[in-house]
């Protein structure tokens, strides 16, 4: 139901806000110290926007609102990337007020592919994709193995977490951190981290609310 979707988005927004300084500090090390600020500006606006939606809005419209709001408020690299991700997921949830497991997998994949296309990037380049691609795969495998949504999201989170850790071991070849060459080694990617934080917030939200896909 859309008010659940809205509540999930709120949970994600709050998680981002809480990590504003952490994400900014990560970006200070290998970027330009604004990732947390950018994301918080975006999700603060998202909070206001989704709260203003009519009660029976479909999930597609909720996600489209998130995507459009991120695009028009975040700026930087992460704005168009996450914005595109939400728009792509939204396209698969148009008119829907309840998500099936198959659709959930498709949405996560569409979101990830949106980022790949917009950013002309792939995993292994020290970006958000290093969290999202493995998370996608773990999630799809879980669903294929008929695990519960909560279990699948936990698997996705684990994979994303490993992806974040993995970004410490590689040199950035995309985004601002790529200017650093070798000097980006040892630092975790801010975008991968924010991806993990969003997935984790979603997973926690579903667990607390005993949500299930059908």
């Amino acid at each position: 139901m859309s008010h659940t979707a809205i509540a999930a988005i709120e949970a994600i927004s709050i998680a981002i806000s809480k990590n504003k300084e952490f994400l900014t500090d990560l970006d200070a090390a290998i970027g330009d110290s604004d990732h947390g600020i950018n994301m918080t500006r975006g999700f603060d606006a998202v909070l206001i926007k989704v709260k203003g939606l009519p009660t029976h809005t479909d999930i597609g419209t909720v996600l489209k609102t998130v995507g459009m709001t991120l695009i028009s408020t975040v700026g930087g690299a992460s704005g168009p990337l996450y914005g595109t991700a939400f728009l792509r997921a939204a396209a698969l949830a148009q008119g829907i007020s309840c998500i099936g497991s198959h659709t959930a997998v498709q949405m996560l994949e569409a979101a990830t592919n949106g980022i790949k296309e917009r950013g002309k990037a792939t995993s292994g380049e020290k970006t958000m994709l290093d969290a999202l691609e493995p998370a996608c795969e773990a999630f799809a495998n879980g669903i294929k193995a008929q695990k519960s949504l909560v279990e699948c999201l936990a698997l996705a989170c684990d994979a994303a977490y490993k992806g974040v850790e993995y970004t410490k071991t590689i040199i950035a070849t995309k985004g601002r951190a790529s200017y650093l060459g070798e000097r980006s080694l040892g630092h975790q990617d801010p975008g991968a981290t924010s991806s993990y934080i969003m997935l984790k917030a979603l997973a926690d939200f579903c667990r607390h609310n005993n949500l299930e896909v059908n």
Binding site: I71, P80, Y179
Partner: protein, 331 residues
């Protein structure tokens, strides 16, 4: 953090208000947007739009006016503006001859400007873009996102702006902009960092005697840190890097920008220029025009960058053409 501001979240808005109040002869605001256009926009010529994160003042709003930009879009501090803002600028300045977007080579800027071009194109506006990548501190390899765009961008605004003013078509203006970009190289150094108001603390920390070579204009780390050295040695190092990438022959005409990053005394910029000129003159290069001042700043960062542009007769004429903007006036 000690700053002359009211609210860290309002700095861009209040700055834009201050600019319009200061220079109504030159610029006006697109209502509700972080966009400045010429006071008499749109005009029946190819229009130039640039922009990027704020904090680089006078870039970019300071270069809106006759002979340079038609519109400038201001993002949050050090953060690319969003596509809707850029689109608004494009729509406000398009006089039917098309719009050239001058983008600095940062993923964020490119993604946002690209989305905006797609939107503008879908509204039937002819849009082209060029990407400035003059910073030789960054390896220009296919394994990276390539060199960053820094102070050399001002040359693109000036020269492409003059071409558009002279009635060049969108293709011609784009071509000359690309020629400029192919012929500029820049590199900078920092003595002290700056603090993004919303972050509240410096984006990097340098020891009492330490400087950073090749850092970016958003405080991105540079090629390395070292102990402070005499100005002449620092300049020699930067010029070596620049000229390694952009060889200049004796007799070549060039233009130079010695750009302050916001917190460096103008006195020091001239001490820097003395060595820059000495090096170029030593190679038999002819310096046609030198600009010394704060053109592409990083808030209050202390440090400077040097940009060298190789000229041919077309670029030279366009460079020397008149311009009249809040921060760049030339007869």
């Amino acid at each position: 953090m000690k700053k002359v501001i009211n609210n860290p979240d309002q700095v861009v808005e209040e700055m834009l208000e201050g600019v319009v109040l200061a220079h109504p002869q030159y610029v006006k605001r697109v209502k509700g947007f972080s966009v400045l256009t010429r006071a008499n926009s749109p005009s029946p010529k190819v229009a130039l739009v640039s922009g990027g994160g704020s904090g680089h003042e006078p870039s970019h709003g300071g270069f809106v006016g006759r002979g340079m930009l038609d519109g400038a879009v201001a993002g949050a501090v050090f953060t690319s503006p969003t596509p809707d803002q850029i689109l608004e600028a494009v729509k406000a300045v398009d006089g039917g001859k098309g719009v050239l977007l001058v983008i600095k080579n940062y993923t964020g800027d490119i993604l946002n400007f690209e989305m905006a071009s797609e939107m503008a194109a879908s509204e039937g506006i002819q849009v082209e873009n060029v990407i400035v990548n003059d910073d030789v501190a960054v390896e220009n390899s296919t394994w990276t996102t390539g060199r960053r765009g820094i102070a050399g961008t001002v040359f693109v605004h000036k020269i492409a702006g003059a071409k558009a003013e002279a009635g060049g078509t969108l293709t011609e203006v784009k071509l000359v902009a690309e020629k400029v970009i192919a012929n500029i190289r820049s590199m900078g150094m920092a003595l002290a960092p700056c603090t993004v108001p919303a972050a509240g603390k410096p984006s990097f920390v340098l020891a009492e005697d330490e400087i950073e070579i090749g850092m970016g204009i958003h405080g991105e780390p540079g090629t390395h840190r070292e102990a402070i050295r005499p100005a002449d040695e620092i300049v020699t190092h930067l010029m070596d890097k620049i000229l390694a990438d952009l060889p200049v022959a004796s007799g070549q005409e060039v233009s130079v920008i010695v750009n302050g990053l916001g917190g460096t005394p103008i006195m020091e910029l001239y001490i820097v220029n003395r060595k820059v000129a000495e090096i170029l003159n030593g190679k038999g290069v002819k310096i046609v025009k030198t600009y010394v001042g704060n053109y592409m700043t990083s808030l209050e960062m202390a440090g400077f960058s040097v940009s060298v542009l190789k000229l041919d007769s077309e670029l030279k004429d366009l460079l020397l053409a008149p311009a009249e903007t809040p921060a760049f006036v030339q007869f």
